[in-house]
Structure formats: C-alpha cells, structure tokens
C-alpha cells in the first residue's frame, strides 16, 4: 500500500468505493481502512447489503388471472393481424 493511500481522507477513500466493491480487490490491505473505523464499518455494511440482496429476494408466483389476460390479449392481436384465421 502506498504512502499516498495512507494519507487519504475519508472523502477520498469513499470516492473509490464504487470501484472497490465487487472488484475483488483486497480491502483488508488498504491503508486507510487500517486506520479508519468509520470507513471500515461503511465498507462492511455496503458489502453486506450487496451479499444479502443476492440471497434474500424470493421468486414470487404471479396471480392466476394474469395468464387469462395474456391469452385474451393474444387473441385480440390475432384477430387484428389474422382476421380470416379460422374462417372456412
């Protein structure tokens, strides 16, 4: 870690966060984090949110009537674009 990184302010460090999270870069070695509990807490929270989002959101079932609406809309479209279909 460079001396320059060591001298970063919280503002400067936080400006780098969008690039850091998810990049695979080792944050533990970042000099600013070793000396700043506030930024350590911030980074831990943001990584926790990103990880939780992947795990927590459930797959939900659409209501049964949705297919009826879709089927009805498909029939209407077919009636417009293929008006002679089904006629002998």
């Amino acid at each position: 870690m460079t001396e320059e990184a060591n001298l970063m302010t919280c503002h400067e460090f936080q400006a780098q966060l969008p690039e850091m999270i998810g990049s695979g870069e080792s944050r533990a070695a970042h000099a600013h984090l070793r000396h700043c509990a506030l930024c350590r807490a911030l980074l831990a929270d943001l990584e926790t949110i990103a990880e939780a989002a992947r795990k927590l959101f459930p797959i939900v079932e659409p209501p049964d009537h949705l297919w009826e609406q879709i089927e009805s809309a498909i029939k209407k479209e077919k009636a417009v674009f293929e008006p002679d279909e089904g006629k002998e």
Binding site: T48, A50, F57, P62
Partner: protein, 211 residues
C-alpha cells in the same frame, strides 16, 4: 386454455445465465415457434415466476409488475419465431423482460440515468452524513422484509441498477449497454443506491418501533 400446472419453473433460485432449462423446454419452444398455442402456454408456466419476480423487483408494485409481465409475454408471442438459440432461451426472455420494463418506464417519462445527477453531490447530504457513526453494524442483521421494503422505496433509477447488478447479477458493462449510459455512471448509481439502502436499513428498527 390454462397452462399445465404440472409444468413449473424448475430453477426458481438460479441466476438466468446459469438456470438449467426444463427437459421439455426445447420441444415446447419448437412447437410454440410453429404456432402451437398450448406449447406457448406451457412456456409461460415455465418462466412466469422468474419474469414476474424480475418485474416486481424492477418496478416495486404488483399492478405494474402484472402489466409488464403481460407485455413481456405478448412481445414473446410476437417475437418467438425470431429466437435462433444464440443464447439460452431463459436469458433471451430475461433480456426481453428488462427491455419491456425499461421501455415502459421511459414512456412514463422516467429519466433512468442522468450523468448530471450521478455526478452531483447528494442534495440532502444523506450519503455522507454520519458514515460509520452507527451504534450497530448491518453485518449479519439484515432481514428480508427490511431489505425488500428499502429496495422498493429506492428512487426508480437507483432501484433499476441495484436490481440488475446486485440481484440479477448483470455486470456494469451489460447494464451500461442496456441503459445507454457509461460504465462509470452505472457504478456511481449503484454506489448511491447501496448508500441509500444502508441509511434506510439503519433506520428500519426505529421505524418499526414507532406505534
């Protein structure tokens, strides 16, 4: 014609790019491409949960999610014959749904991404206020209800990028392409979304404690 209830989404929790297709999917797809309505109904059964869930996350309410799911499957019906198998069908359909949602949101006047907005400081200062000055860490303490509520409360532009990146697993370059913005802009918006969520999640227990 009701879809066959025995045919359901076989990969509820898998990411779209890794979901294994249902064993019958290839046959159903070929039949639907040939105009078989019954096969199309079964494809709906296979994919309805994933597409509806995606729409729910992106728009945040059931009425709009239903509208956008319906529009997605209508578009699928119009375009299914053009699917050539260059990608997995589920991936293709997933992208179709995202495009439907984005198009509908643009029609409603939502400016999804503004570079000016992305580069401006937060007007309320909420993102920089009290960073780390918390009694409690979120680590190990986020619950589903709180996170879902916080995501649904996000501004629409933030929510889209958060959902696409952190939930659906798209890369920034893919999001930038979908939303017609820069990679840097996508990263910046995602960061702001996470900061906004952090603020909301820290406030959540206090909100719940109110009478």
């Amino acid at each position: 014609m009701a879809p066959d209830p025995a045919i359901t989404d076989s990969a509820d929790q898998a990411a779209p790019s890794t979901a294994l297709p249902h064993p019958l999917e290839a046959d159903l797809l070929a039949q639907a491409q040939a105009g078989d309505h019954r096969a199309f109904a079964q494809l709906y059964s296979l994919h309805k949960k994933r597409i509806y869930s995606l729409c729910m996350r992106m728009v945040g309410n059931t009425a709009e999610a239903e509208d956008m799911t319906q529009e997605t499957f209508l578009q699928l019906h119009r375009k299914i014959a053009t699917f050539r198998g260059d990608s997995a069908f589920s991936t293709w359909l997933h992208r179709l749904a995202i495009n439907v949602v984005l198009m509908q949101l643009r029609k409603k006047g939502l400016s999804l991404i503004s570079m000016d907005e992305a580069m401006e400081p937060d007007p309320q200062g909420s993102h920089s206020r009290g960073f780390g000055a918390r009694d409690l860490s979120l680590v190990g303490s986020i619950d589903r209800m709180a996170l879902e509520r916080a995501v649904s409360d996000l501004p629409a532009g933030y929510r889209l990028i958060f959902v696409l990146h952190d939930i659906e697993g798209y890369e920034h370059h893919e999001i930038a392409s979908m939303l017609d913005c820069s990679v840097g802009n996508s990263k910046s918006q995602l960061h702001k979304a996470r900061l906004t969520l952090r603020e909301a999640l820290h406030n959540f227990p206090r909100q719940e404690a109110r009478p």
